[in-house]
Subunit: 337 residues, 2 copies
DNA sequence: CTGTTAGCGCTTTCAT
DNA sequence: ATGAAAGCGCTAACAG
């Protein structure tokens, strides 16, 4: 079946008006006769007329669309941030195009091409664990399209960034473990390429130092966030001559997997070993034992990122500033520690 | 900062070529000199040239974009379906625009306008619990834009639909409860406007009938899927003079909430009362006790829906057929029953 | 208040 | 193998 599009011309012809008048009526321009406008609007409604945003975008060089690129949709974190950002953008009259990179650098690059080709007015990004080269993102700034990072930010680019205080969150959850008498605290860390990995690791180290616990490198395992590998690392830790009495996992999915491995070995949580996570995913309150974790203001992150982006779009600035918004975390103590 | 767009004209001028030649080189048209093509491609790469899809869409009347509208992103179901559909569409060269209606009819209507304005080539929809009028969706077919429904389908429209066998899934999980000796099985049902509610309810009724258990209307509570209300219904059921010995919840989130309410009352699951869900959400294996549920081939649903849609787009048919793809469910018995 | 003209960036005839 | 011209649907000057 052929696609039929109702255009301004159709309405103009029917009503014996000029295209411009119809256009003006449709866009709510004040300088148009009330009855004329009424007539146009009614006919448009009747014909299911929809403005062709392609044409408008072409001419105004604005699509009122923002793009969001996220690495994954498996935990509740990114869906929630995305939805919050979308809602906030919607309030400002922006549509949202979402792409997920599936934690692959190549896919992320492809995603940016799509965004560019579709002329997004701005981009929200959380990079993959593989991303080390940022040329594909720098293109946007070179073209004058604002970028805002969140969660997984790019340190070498000047752009607004929305993060939580990872250092502080890690510091507090590890301090909490120490307060509960834990002495050998292991850390399942993330890829060193990600800032969040580094910051959480630093928070961990700082808490140990502050409490005069010596840092034991053999208790820190950086991994690539591939959940299927967690059981290997956890078992490795438990098989150590001096196994840890607590594991601080970099994320809730990691912690949840850790709990399951530990339970499978017949050990008791938290009696034999405590486990903590990071993010307060939906599932963390459901698992048995419920997970002690650091909650992030997830919706707030999405909202803030969207606001910053729209701000940039409207501001029409000539320079990219390194605005960093650090949101607060909260320690949620449950039964796993 | 002004937006700078590199255009074909820029390349043409630089290379002393005509626009047409550059365009042909860029689109891989065969009738263009190999060296010329090479030259064009290199310069395009160097200048970060990206084809303006707005212009192309305007002229070809095709955007290579499909739209997806889903009611929510809170459980793992819709994110997973969406991602699977997006991947499948990507393979066929289609981009994806995702909107969520937040279970609101008004928002869904607004979403369809956006899709129309952005000239999507096809639409994937799962309707809200409120949607009773389908005019906003019928417009698409009238304009020649294919629609495919999944999960929450519209019965009164002729269009491809991807569903699971809700009746059968419900029948089997209820039969399972009966096998385990349950006699008074309550059902937390969904809004009657949704086909899935009706089908699951019918499966429930059929299983009772088959096992000569009388249908007791007071044990069936249709609710609007607002999770915050679940505790009221569960408590109501538990306070009945003859309380149920099992609750079949229409969805996993409902079941999980149900479990928590029951646990809070100090009752034992499944000894005092069994609970089952529907969908096999990620969280259902984590909760204590783990949830007996009906698993759906979620990725398969997204993939199939995308395939059907792209099929329709390419087929250029003049009529909308009521193709219904019914995917199989699987009973997952865990510890809650 | 309304009409006319030009043109956004690109593909697509139709020429050469 | 390349070029020239027309036009997708719309808005934005510039006129009246």
């Amino acid at each position: 079946m052929k696609r039929h599009q109702v255009t301004i011309v159709d309405i103009a012809r029917e009503l014996q008006l000029s295209k411009s008048t119809v256009s003006r009526a449709l866009t709510g321009h004040p300088s148009v006769n009330a009855t004329t406008r009424q007539l146009v609007l009614e006919l448009a409604e009747k014909l299911d007329y929809q403005r062709n945003m392609l044409a408008i975008g072409l001419i105004t060089r604005k699509t009122n669309t923002i793009g969001i690129i996220v690495p994954e949709f498996t935990s509740s974190y990114f869906p929630t941030v995305t939805i919050a950002a979308q809602e906030e953008a919607g309030k400002a009259g922006y549509n949202t195009v979402i792409c997920q990179s599936n934690e692959r650098y190549e896919t992320e690059v492809a995603n940016t091409k799509v965004m560019l080709a579709n002329q997004v007015d701005g981009l929200l990004v959380s990079i993959t664990k593989e991303t080390r080269n940022f040329d594909h993102l720098k293109i946007f700034q070179r073209k004058g399209i604002p970028i805002v990072f969140f969660n997984r930010v790019c340190d070498e680019m000047d752009a607004p960034k929305v993060v939580v205080d990872d250092y502080d969150g890690a510091y507090r959850v590890v301090s909490h473990l120490i307060e509960r008498g834990r002495k050998r605290i292991a850390h399942l860390s993330g890829p060193p390429s990600l800032m969040i990995s580094q910051k959480r690791l630093n928070g961990y180290k700082a808490a140990l130092r502050k409490n005069n616990i010596e840092y034991d490198e053999s208790l820190v395992i950086p991994y690539d966030l591939n959940i299927d590998m967690v059981h290997i690392y956890v078992n490795h830790l438990l098989n150590l001559p001096a196994p840890p009495d607590a594991i601080f996992a970099i994320s809730d999915p990691t912690a949840i997997e850790t709990i399951q491995v530990i339970k499978k070995r017949g050990l008791k949580i938290p009696e034999d070993i405590a486990v903590t996570g990071f993010s307060n995913d939906f599932a963390s309150s459901l698992i048995e034992p419920s997970l002690t974790t650091v909650s992030q203001p997830v919706k707030e992150i999405g909202k803030t990122a969207a606001q910053l982006l729209i701000d940039q779009i409207n501001r029409d600035v000539s320079e990219w500033k390194n605005i960093i918004r650090v949101l607060k975390t909260e320690l949620i103590v449950r039964n796993s520690s």
